[in-house]
């Protein structure tokens, strides 16, 4: 018996002694550097350790025989190796392979500014768009403080890198939007139809964008509609220019939101004198409707619609004789509906299909004569995305556009210029991550234009390289094409697409809430539409050409000064074109050589108030004086604007917001219009295009009603 006990005890002792195998070694990354904090252990045991600052490790295990040693570390692929454990000491060298992680990896930043809620890497947040002074909560207004844009104050549109306003296309959830700006009187800025409150993310590309986006020569503005929150609430806004009410309601596996807005500028124009002689100040009625519903776990349906009606009547003095006034009566009816279905097939595959319909009818009565313009469009699109692996992903898609445009002119009752355009396109794009430091993207887009019976195939290429922990470089090249503007194609339907090549090089550094970006580009335009007589189709050709080159610089800092967030943008642009009715190469009137913006935001905690200011500068723009020999040879004075705003949290669910544009009341001149014929002295008369009023003052109160009283419109203001 004693023997048995002795054996037992001995057995225990030997087990404890025998069980110790010492394992030492070093964990290294692909380049021989140490990997710190890696977890090294014997599978199915507690035995293991972490690597130290030199990547070295050392531990003992009581496991025996053939076992599996596993090494894990954040940012690296898991490493496993079989080990034979005996009394002998083991020394292991463990090379880990870096894991490609899309959140860590380099991104292609050439030409692109993204604003989203999710990633902390974004240059701009959706909130920035609405709190930028001078933008008056207009998407284009806020983006105009970014480099690469030119201030063309009389239109309110986005003019990007020497491109016309029509060269920027707007997409909602990847689907095209026609006529994204509301109608406005001649030479008064129009606003975007789509309120920034409706979007959770914005990607503003100033060039070199993905093959997914076509029919845009200069820029793509991609808006991602908000996921309607699962919470029931009502928001009421009372403003000096009108009122709106919106309601969000949770439904089974989804939510819907509706918003109704009425604006009328009559009381405001009564109070603040205007340069424009309004017979009836602008008024508009607008409705928005959104729905999100999860049909099954794999299918999500989104519906977004916008309808609006707007109207105004003005008297506009003729240039030659100011006492004679043209009466312009404009009514616009607009409907937009966008439906998309997202299907997650599995971890790798997802499909997004969508269809949009736009209908815009603009009725203009010029001195009682009708000039009606109607544009109708359908866009159908399907995109298939396949994340083959973390290192490789593929995007394939097809789309079809139908656009119908008619123009009715009382002066030419028998002619109804217009066109019907059908266009089919396919695109494919692949992203390849060689490592977290290097990514390349190659895409191709093929389009068949049924109206022109012409085929276009264009490449898009870009690469990104991480030069350091927080810095990276990107290079992009792409060819872009776009059917000419409605008012040109309606004269001659079978004009070819206008074309542009983009070459972009970008450097970006982001560290501790500070971002620095510099980007140089060259754009080559060809196939631009040119004519000698505006109404004669015979005189229209695609022989126009041009170029644009420049440098954009951006600096943003929200760390250096407590509570202060500011950004500075500078753009240099050198561009000339020989197109439209230009007699030769000249700088177009929308292009200014130097643009600068400084945006400043400060949250004063003790006052529960956010104040903001924006200063914008733009050097003189060329204009044509027909009394001179050289075309577009004159220049306007420089443009300056200082705008301020403030939001005050009155109660936890009430916000008061006020803003003033052009605080200094400077008399900016955007350009000059000339009379269509000479006066009695044989001279053409020039008339300055100015702001409709020196300042615009806005006051509003935003109230939120919900069960949770602390919810307010702050996130949307």
């Amino acid at each position: 018996m004693r023997n048995i006990i002795t054996t037992f005890i001995l057995g225990f002792i030997t087990m404890a002694v025998q069980g110790q195998t010492e394992i030492t070694g070093r964990v290294t990354d692909g380049r021989g550097g140490p990997v710190i904090g890696a977890n090294i252990f014997i599978v199915n045991s507690y035995d293991g350790t972490s690597s130290d600052a030199k990547g070295a490790f050392n531990f003992s295990t009581s496991e025996q025989g053939s076992q599996l040693l596993r090494v894990t570390c954040i940012g690296y692929e898991t490493y496993e190796t079989p080990v034979g454990l005996s009394a002998e000491k083991l020394n292991l060298s463990i090379p880990l392979i870096e894991k490609v992680d899309r959140l860590e990896a380099v991104v292609i930043s050439a030409g692109s500014f993204t604003a989203g809620e999710e990633s902390s890497r974004e240059v701009l947040k959706p909130l920035d768009i609405v709190t930028t002074a001078g933008a008056t909560a207009d998407v284009a207004g806020a983006l105009n403080t970014l480099p690469g844009t030119q201030k063309v104050g009389e239109t309110g549109r986005l003019f990007v890198r020497g491109g016309e306003g029509s060269e920027t296309k707007t997409f909602i959830d990847g689907i095209e939007v026609l006529n994204p700006y509301s109608s406005s009187a001649p030479n008064t800025p129009g606003r975007g139809r789509f309120s920034p409150f409706m979007f959770s993310g914005t990607s503003f590309s100033t060039g070199g964008y993905s093959a997914e986006y076509g029919q845009a020569l200069s820029s793509a503005l991609v808006l991602r509609s908000k996921d309607v929150p699962d919470e029931t609430r009502t928001d009421i806004s009372l403003m000096t220019v009108g009122a709106d009410v919106s309601h969000t309601r949770e439904i089974n596996a989804g939510a819907f939101a509706g918003k109704l807005q009425y604006t009328n500028l009559t009381p405001y124009f009564e109070a603040v004198s205007q340069r424009i002689d309004w017979e009836r100040a602008p008024q508009s009625m607008e409705g928005n409707f959104m729905l999100r519903k999860e049909l099954t776990q794999k299918h999500e349906l989104k519906l977004y619609s916008n309808f609006s009606w707007s109207d105004f009547v003005i008297y506009q003095p003729t240039i030659l004789d100011e006492s004679i006034k043209d009466k312009i009566d404009l009514t616009n009816n607009y409907q937009y509906i966008n439906t998309s279905l997202k299907t997650i097939v599995n971890n790798q595959w997802s499909v997004l299909s969508g269809i949009s319909y736009t209908n815009s009818i603009e009725k203009i009565k010029l001195n009682g004569e009708k000039n009606n313009e109607r544009e109708e469009g359908v866009h159908i699109k399907t995109v298939v995305a396949n994340d083959v692996s973390e290192k490789f992903s593929l995007l394939l898609g097809g789309e079809h556009f139908i656009r119908s445009y008619t123009y009715e002119n009382a002066a030419l009752p028998d002619e109804r210029p217009g066109f019907d355009l059908d266009l089919t396109a396919f695109f494919a794009e692949a992203d390849l991550y060689t490592s977290n430091r290097f990514v390349s993207r190659a895409g191709v887009r093929a389009e068949y234009n049924w109206m022109q019976n012409r085929f276009y195939a264009v490449p898009r290429l870009s690469v990104g390289y991480k030069t350091g922990e927080n810095s990276q470089m990107s290079v992009a090249y792409g060819q872009f094409n776009q059917t000419g503007r409605n008012d040109l194609v309606r004269v001659k339907n079978n004009l070819e697409d206008e074309e542009a090549d983009h070459y972009i090089i970008n450097y970006q550094r982001e560290e501790n809430g500070r971002t620095f970006r510099i980007e140089a580009y060259y754009k080559n335009y060809n196939n631009l539409i040119k004519f000698t007589q505006a109404y004669n189709p015979e005189s229209y050709t695609n022989s126009g050409e041009g170029y644009a080159r420049g440098v954009d610089v951006f600096w943003r800092d929200n760390k250096s000064l407590k509570g202060v967030d500011y950004w500075l943008s500078y753009s240099y642009l050198d561009t000339e074109r020989d197109y439209r009715n230009f007699p030769s190469y000249a700088v177009p009137s929308f292009a200014s050589g130097h643009n600068f913006s400084a945006v400043f935001k400060y949250f004063i905690n003790s006052l529960k108030t956010q104040v903001g200011g924006t200063y914008s500068y733009s050097s003189g723009r060329p204009y044509n004086n027909p009394n001179l020999d050289t075309f577009n040879s004159e220049k306007t004075a420089d443009y300056h604007d200082l705008s301020l705003n403030a939001s005050y949290l009155l109660k936890s669910n009430i916000i008061v917001h006020g803003s003033v544009t052009n605080v200094l009341g400077l008399d900016n001149i955007f350009g000059y219009e000339s009379s269509d014929r000479p006066d009695e002295n044989g001279q053409y008369v020039l008339k300055a295009v100015k702001q409709p009023a020196s300042r615009f003052i806005f006051l509003g109160m935003f109230i939120t009603l919900s069960k949770d009283k602390s919810v307010n419109q702050l996130p949307t203001l």
Binding site: M1, I5, F8, I36, G37, A38, N39, F41, V43, N44, S45, Y46, D47, G48, T49, S50, A53, T72, I74, L103, E104, E117, S120, R121, K125, P126, L127, E511, N512, G513, F603, K608, L649, K651, S652, D708, S710, V711, L714, P715
Partner: protein, 212 residues
């Protein structure tokens, strides 16, 4: 002799039946003390690695996942760069989610999830405030519902209520009352396991200063 054999056998039975849990408990307790003593990112990573090794073995235990998640939250608060903070918070949430799969009704895990959302707010309050403070409040609410005596859930909830009240300039009384209750619970609450979380009391007492 028979008696000795019986005792020996009994000793072996008792020993072997307790061998698993006690080894687990011993390893856990040692590592939990290390976790509470950790101050740097490297120290936290080392104890998290140990919890990961234990979790890989003890696939039915939520505690190692809880502490690994807590460690990552601490790493996030020790880091300066927003992207790095987010990365650690993602890892923390991954651990907590794995834990709630094992123990969906564990008040401590749900409270820790709320803590992750609360730290997210601090990364970028202006943009994230509304969304994440809501998520965090929801989680604390559920944690208190599951265990009204959980002092950590009450303490964290009081923290966010205090911050919200202060921001909007409303009365902090309700938040302070909750904090007081939390401190009381820290003293009286007896957890059912020696491995149960025990952190938070110091922070709660420090926060109480603001209420005076």
């Amino acid at each position: 002799m028979k008696a000795l054999m019986l005792i020996t056998t009994m000793f072996f039975i008792i020993y072997s039946s307790h061998a698993g849990p006690s080894k687990y408990e011993e390893a856990m307790q040692e590592n939990i003390s290390k976790l509470y003593a950790s101050r740097t990112v490297e120290e936290y990573q080392e104890v998290i690695n140990k919890f990961d090794r234990i979790a890989a073995m003890e696939t039915d235990k939520w505690e190692p996942l809880y502490y690994a998640g807590f460690g990552y939250i601490m790493m996030a608060t020790e880091s300066k760069e927003a992207t790095v903070k987010d990365k650690y918070l993602d890892l923390a949430l991954e651990k907590i989610t794995a834990g709630t799969k094992l123990q969906p009704q564990e008040s401590e895990l749900i409270a820790l999830e709320g803590f992750v959302h609360m730290i997210r707010v601090t990364v970028d309050p202006a943009t994230r405030g509304a969304q994440y403070s809501g998520l965090s409040m929801q989680a604390y609410g559920r944690a208190v519902e599951l265990n009204p005596d959980n002092p950590r859930a009450l303490y964290l909830m009081a923290q966010i209520e205090y911050g919200t009240a202060q921001f909007f300039g409303s009365d902090t009384g309700e938040a302070c009352a909750k904090l007081e209750l939390a401190i009381e619970k820290f003293d009286t609450y007896v957890p059912d396991s020696p491995l149960a979380p025990a952190w938070g009391k110091g922070g709660a007492i420090a926060s109480m200063e603001r209420c005076k």
